[in-house]
């Protein structure tokens, strides 16, 4: 009696284990298939890039004229090596990176603070709306000469250019996020007895985070453009300076080499923003 009582449950357990194993196997197979699909995408991207570079190299290898006009991947790689060796690559990337980051930070902090706080007053936001649109429509490059006059030819003018490229976008995206908060959600907060500041802090700010981050991703590029335009106008270092100098000396491969560094910088900065976004909004990963 005792023996059978302890023995019988073992059977259904074994069956359950087997079912669980099968389910786990199915899941693993599904995961493998998904990983394989991702690998195929990456492989295709690498192949596309390789084909493009090979075509470029092939077109320039026999023809000096074309090589002069368009550079060639091997020449670009050569310039990257020498620039890395003499340290100018790191120095220029560092300078432009600092300008971009500072402009990005200052512009986004100012823009986001103004954009969010405009939620507080419908009146104030209506008053300043046309001015924001007007400022937003100014091509930043048109301001460059004035910025140089105001802030000099050093780091400050590049940060100012970068900030100006960012601030309006940050303002508009964060304001859009703040006023887009569900009216029912605000009513709920009110029935819970929340003050306007509590509604702002506990609801409006976190609810706007998604839009703010969309703005951040967009403005990484804008900040970099601002810094490079600033360097074009007047500078003694930075990637924009390197591009401008090599361009005016007709050293096309060097222009491309500096461009490669610029693209790398943009990718790294975008990657960091994406990581911070995931860190600050863990609930979005789960949906």
């Amino acid at each position: 009696m005792d023996a059978s009582a302890t023995f019988t449950p073992a059977k259904p357990d074994a069956a359950a284990d087997e079912a669980a194993d099968r389910a786990a196997a199915r899941l693993a197979a599904h995961r493998r298939a998904r990983r394989r699909a991702t690998a195929l995408v990456i492989l295709s991207q690498v192949a596309l890039l390789a084909a493009f570079l090979a075509f470029w190299e092939y077109m320039t290898v026999f023809d000096k004229q074309t090589a002069f006009m368009f550079g060639s991947p091997s020449a670009i790689a050569g310039f990257l090596m020498t620039m890395a060796k003499d340290g100018s690559l790191w120095r220029d990337t560092y300078v432009t990176g600092v300008e971009t980051l500072l402009g990005f930070a200052v512009g986004n902090v100012i823009g986001t603070l103004i954009g969010l706080s405009l939620w507080y007053s419908r009146f104030v936001s209506r008053v300043i709306e046309p001015f924001v649109i007007a400022l937003g429509s100014i091509p930043i490059i048109a301001l460059a000469p004035i910025i140089i006059i105001w802030f000099g030819t050093g780091l400050t003018s590049k940060i100012a250019m970068s900030t100006l490229s960012v601030v309006i976008v940050a303002l508009v995206t964060s304001y859009k996020g703040a006023v887009g908060v569900d009216e029912d959600q605000i009513n709920l907060m009110r029935t819970l007895g929340a003050s306007k500041f509590q509604i702002f802090r506990k609801l409006v700010v976190p609810a706007s985070l998604a839009d703010i981050f969309a703005g951040l991703k967009l403005t990484v590029g804008f900040a970099l453009i601002g810094a490079i335009v600033g360097e074009f106008m007047s500078s003694s270092e930075g990637l924009g300076h390197a591009i401008f100098k090599a361009g005016s000396l007709y050293i096309i491969p060097k222009v491309f080499a500096a461009l490669v560094a610029t693209i790398a910088l943009a990718l790294v900065l975008t990657f960091i923003v994406g990581k911070v976004e995931k860190l600050l909004m863990p609930w979005r990963r789960l949906s």
Partner: protein, 275 residues
Amino acid sequence: MNAVDTPAIAAGAVGMAPAGTPPLVVEHVAKSYDADGRIVPVIGDLSLTLNEGEIVAIVGPSGCGKTTLLNTLCGLIGADSGRIRWHGREISGQPSGVGYMLQKDLLLPWRTALRNVMLGLEIRGVSLSDAEERSHVVLDKLGLHGFAEHYPTTLSGGMRQRVALARTLVNEPDVLLLDEPFAALDFQTKLLIESDTARLVRESRRSVLLITHDIEEAVSIADRVIVLTKRPTRVKAVYDIALGTERTDMIAARESAGFVDYVRRIWADLDVTRQ
């Protein structure tokens, strides 16, 4: 300490009113909207009373201004005329001790279930540890033990609505205003949450004003059903529901003898004509 069963907020409001004063009295309330210069009357002339510990359901044809009524009662919008008295007093702004729940759960996606429930306590400045403890108690009562740290996106619709219910109940409101809170749920989930809601509000003698388009829900859960007319809204009929069963089990209520008769009569009152 049993936080949920001690109506702390209610005590202040009820204490001032003489015993037996109904928590909510609505007298001749009217409300119109201005649509492109035209005055559209939404609520014509509405009076109703919600007694202590009573569940009253309001049913009406679609678009009869049920939500407008609820927002007016909450003090979110002002009435054009008439009087709304909470515990015998007219107040401006939001009444205290009133919980509000909609069809949308309105959970904050960046807060876990527990932190969503804590929202009202946090706003009122209750200490964090106290708020956490009380929220855990209510979540447990609604069968959400073990889901406190889940984000809303990882919960099912029924569980999300339970969290929303917990968020309402943790504030110990003496009156709950519910605007079709179960309408988006599947039938089985709906019956279970309705039963839980009825059980929790009846055992702590809270009052409920439930706005719904679901006649069966109204009859099974409420002590009284008020049928509204089309716009401009007035009270068309009032039914005192006597089903002779324990009114915390929605399945038993729906199987009771009188149930179908009430549903049929209210359905006739609503006068839904096929077009």
